[in-house]
């Protein structure tokens, strides 16, 4: 039995010639179609170059435009010529000038000889697959597409609009069920002849002439009418990128291609010298009877498409700068923001780092400098601790910080005295865990021993800024994990919030916190609050503190005053 080859060529004629010789030397007759758009002289030269190969023929030339009928017409011309000239051909393989046989042709021949009745053509019912290109699915068959999508996009789109408005819906020829699949097939002589000699062929051809992308549906649909046994897969390894352009293989894909065990691959870059030198290539010694296994290439392709369409979450760089709401991940990794904790608890940072195994920083957005862990002057990614550099673009600073440290959860302190430019970003970020003890800013003021007038002014300002932050956190657009306690709520039961937070972000499983941080000395805080109130500065974010300073909680011994243990 013998294999015949149809080859569609429009460019890189030196490579096409090389591959045609590979087929020819293996004893396969080849019929070549040269795109009518190629200049006469070039086509002639190509034809002459293959003049020494008696079983390489050239078919009538058609003009081939992507998505148009020309490609099918070319294939039909080639097929007719091949079947009429070569009686003993039993399987016909359709390929292009940029296809390259990976395995020896004899292995392909043996594979087909073992499956003499099988047609290898990817063919899926259009109703069942979501293979839309440019938003068109069934409409590929029910509308008319007389103009090229690539060359005359405007006219193409208008024609679609008009037909949709007019409710155009073409009638399919009898028996025809639209199927689609890869353009590159390998059919038995019997099936191909049946398609070519079908009594209704004129009607089918007329119908497909204005179908969109008929090269992916003509043979795929008609084979369903005539084939006895369809293997719905292509023997040619070919994957497409996010825009439906075929992936190209280069020299560095050599090992990958070898391991696929596919018979033919496309597209090969015309200057991939090593690939053209190496293939076709026998693997191991003796006959390789392995089935093609393109899974690795499919995986690579899927990853490439995913990277192009989605990109890396939380990465902002020169070729990925998502508009707001299109980030698919505002930041790269989960992180925690603590407001008010380090004001109340002695060495909260050290304690948190020990209890959770996270990296714990001070106030990253402090007005004077970035308080990185250990108060170093540079941090991962060579981020500088310079506050001016940070405040020039705080958004970039935060997203860079999280991107640079992805892999280890970062915690940092925040407060109303800090640069507030990133509050919306954090609030809308599902990666952020924000915990706030509202009004905790009053504690350092209380302990500062500064003149009351200055303290009162600062308190008013800090409360205003914190109120703004809380408003953002409570807005309907907030997507972070947000918890807010008033200072008095926290003081009532400080263990619970700490246990909750550590459980949520800690890396070590533990039932109960082994050690709790020590509360700062708050003796007299109640009367401080009252003094603020008396001065007209109502500290409403602190929660309820008893008005009667004589019985303030600070002085009630039964409450285990502010020592969290």
């Amino acid at each position: 039995m013998s294999l015949g080859v149809l080859m569609l060529v429009h460019t890189a004629f030196d490579r096409a010639e090389q591959v045609a010789r590979v087929w020819h030397e293996a004893g396969c007759p080849v019929v070549i179609h040269v795109d009518a758009k190629v200049e006469e002289a070039e086509a002639k030269a190509f034809q002459a170059a293959l003049g020494d190969c008696p079983n390489v023929l050239f078919s009538a030339r058609h003009s081939c435009e992507w998505g148009m009928w020309g490609l099918v017409a070319a294939t039909l011309s080639c097929a007719e010529l091949l079947l009429s000239k070569f009686e003993d051909v039993q399987h016909v393989y359709l390929c292009s000038g940029s296809c390259l046989p990976l395995r020896p042709i004899a292995e392909l021949q043996a594979y087909l000889d073992g499956r003499p009745q099988t047609d290898f053509i990817e063919s899926a019912a259009i109703a069942d697959v979501p293979w839309a290109v440019a938003g068109l699915e069934e409409e590929r068959f029910t509308l008319h597409f007389p103009v090229s999508w690539q060359k005359r996009r405007w006219a193409f789109d208008r024609l679609v609009d008009v037909q949709r408005r007019l409710g155009v819906s073409r009638k399919l020829p009898a028996d025809l069920v639209p199927h689609m699949g890869s353009q590159w097939w390998c059919l038995t002589r019997k099936t191909l002849a049946a398609i070519l000699n079908d009594p209704n062929r004129a009607a089918y051809d007329r119908f497909f002439k204005t179908v969109w992308i008929p090269d992916e549906s003509y043979f795929q649909s008609l084979a369903r009418l005539h084939s006895r046994r369809i293997e719905s897969r292509s023997l040619t390894l070919s994957k497409f990128d996010h825009r439906g352009k075929p992936h190209v293989f280069y020299d560095d894909h050599l090992q990958l291609l070898r391991r696929t065990d596919c018979f033919v691959a496309r597209k090969i870059w015309s200057r991939a010298d090593r690939l053209y030198q190496t293939f076709p290539n026998a693997r191991g010694d003796g006959e390789n009877q392995a089935d093609p296994n393109p899974a690795m290439v499919h995986k690579l392709s899927d990853k490439t498409i995913e990277r192009r369409n989605r990109g890396r979450d939380g990465l902002y760089m020169q070729s990925r700068f998502p508009n707001e709401h299109f980030e698919s991940g505002v930041t790269a990794a989960p992180y925690s923001v603590f407001q008010g904790f380090s004001e109340l608890l002695d060495d909260f940072e050290g304690w948190l780092a020990l209890s959770t195994g996270c990296k714990v920083h001070g106030h990253l957005f402090a007005p004077d400098r970035v308080q990185f862990e250990g108060r170093v002057s540079e941090y991962q990614g060579a981020l500088s601790d310079n506050a001016r550099v940070r405040d020039y673009n705080p958004r970039s600073f935060l997203t860079n910080f999280i991107w640079n440290t992805r892999g280890v959860r970062q915690c940092f302190q925040f407060g109303p005295q800090d640069t507030q430019d990133t509050i919306w970003l954090m609030a809308k970020d599902p990666n952020a865990q924000i915990s706030v003890i509202s009004g905790a800013w009053a504690v350092p003021l209380f302990r500062s021993k500064r003149p009351f007038e200055a303290v009162r002014k600062d308190a008013a300002e800090l409360q205003k800024r914190e109120a703004e932050f809380l408003k953002v956190l409570r807005s309907q657009w907030a997507r972070a994990t947000i918890r807010i306690w008033t200072l008095s709520e926290f003081l009532d039961a400080p263990t619970e919030p700490l246990q909750l937070l550590v459980d949520e972000i800690g890396t070590y499983p533990q039932n109960r916190l082994a050690r709790l941080p020590k509360m700062v000395d708050m003796k007299g805080f109640g009367s401080f609050v009252q003094t603020l109130k008396n001065a007209g500065m109502h500290p409403y974010l602190l929660g309820d503190f008893p008005a009667d300073t004589q019985h303030a909680p600070t002085e009630t011994p039964s409450r285990r005053p502010y020592l969290v243990q």
Partner: protein, 336 residues
């Protein structure tokens, strides 16, 4: 962008092209091999001023990548650079004594040459201290990249400047002609770049790296721009607006994905910070031919006197393009 704004940009582009035409009269051809440029060739355009020491390695690097022809503008160098360029069949040279600053930092000259010789060619515009790195550049020639850009319908390709520096003082290791500058300047900042969008040209404005961290920490806004679009399938109606940071028509600046995906990009390894910088900074500060009256060089000259260390414990040591890819500085998105 409204019609009026687009029209203003159109006028602006025309003005740049007029300027380029006017300034092109300052260029005197001293070695013309442009007749050898073939259809489909990749071209490189470069302006030189006293960079002879860098030229041997520069030419080797880009010839290895597969650049077919070099179009060089020598801005009156006094270091005998012509001896290195003369006779090479793939190099054409123009000489000018004109003011670099008045030619908008060489852009007018380059626009003029590109308009004349680069129409229809993929054209790379780089400085002698910039080394273009793109995805798979260790296994695929630049032609593989441009062929792929052609099939995916892209006309321009971005590559941000990545400042490279040595460990220790800049003057510790002396650069020798012909040496790979990355043997000395091996380190870079991986993740401290600030990005914002420039609404006028639609390009991204990127700043940061060691120059912001060390030289411009008190005025980060003044730090030099790092965004560049050095590789363009040139058409004679195109013009670089300010250095290679922005192009007109503005669609050429749309090299980044805005809707959540990621586009492909490369990096220009910038090897300015060698021991040669100290003499260069002093020279350029007095020559007064650079952007903002050479303020950048003045800042270097000043800072280099008292704080010549760019390296920090978090500096990253350069390995290859894959490392830059993983760090998120460039991307192979969409290309297998």
């Amino acid at each position: 962008m409204g019609l009026w704004d687009s029209y203003k940009l159109r006028l602006r582009r025309k003005r740049y092209l007029m300027r380029a035409f006017r300034k092109s009269r300052q260029l005197r051809s001293v070695q013309d091999n442009t007749g050898r440029i073939q259809k489909g060739d990749t071209l490189l355009v470069c302006t030189l001023y006293n960079e002879a020491i860098r030229i041997p390695y520069f030419l080797k690097y880009y010839r290895d990548l597969g650049v077919d022809h070099f179009l060089m503008i020598d801005n009156a160098s006094t270091d005998g650079v012509m001896d290195l360029l003369a006779g090479a069949p793939d190099i054409s040279v123009w000489h000018t004594k004109g003011s670099y600053r008045k030619a908008r930092f060489g852009v007018d000259w380059m626009n003029a040459l590109q308009r004349r010789y680069c129409h229809g060619h993929w054209t790379l515009v780089v400085d002698p201290d910039e080394f273009f790195v793109y995805p798979f550049c260790d296994s695929r020639p630049i032609k593989a990249l441009t062929d792929w850009l052609d099939t995916s319908g892209q006309r321009s390709f971005p590559a941000m400047l990545l400042d490279m520096y040595p460990k220790g003082a800049l003057t510790d290791q002396a650069y020798q002609s012909g040496q790979n500058p990355l043997d000395i300047a091996q380190w870079f900042d991986a993740g401290n770049y600030s990005i914002s969008k420039n609404p006028q040209f639609g390009n991204l404005w990127i700043q940061g790296g060691p120059r912001t961290r060390v030289f411009f920490k008190d005025a980060p806004k003044q730090a030099p721009a790092l965004n560049k679009t050095p590789l363009v399938k040139w058409r004679r109606s195109y013009a670089y607006a300010s250095s290679t940071h922005a192009l007109l028509p503005r669609g050429l600046n749309q090299v980044y994905e805005e809707w959540g995906g990621e586009k492909a990009s490369g990096v220009l390894l910038h090897t300015k910070f060698l021991d040669t910088i100290t003499s260069k900074a002093a020279e350029e500060a007095t020559r007064n031919q650079h952007y903002k009256n050479g303020a950048e060089y003045a800042a270097y000259a000043q800072a280099l006197r008292d704080h010549p260390q760019l390296w920090c414990p978090w500096s990253e040591k350069y390995i290859n393009w894959r490392q830059l890819e993983i760090l998120g500085l460039m991307s192979k998105a969409g290309w297998t």
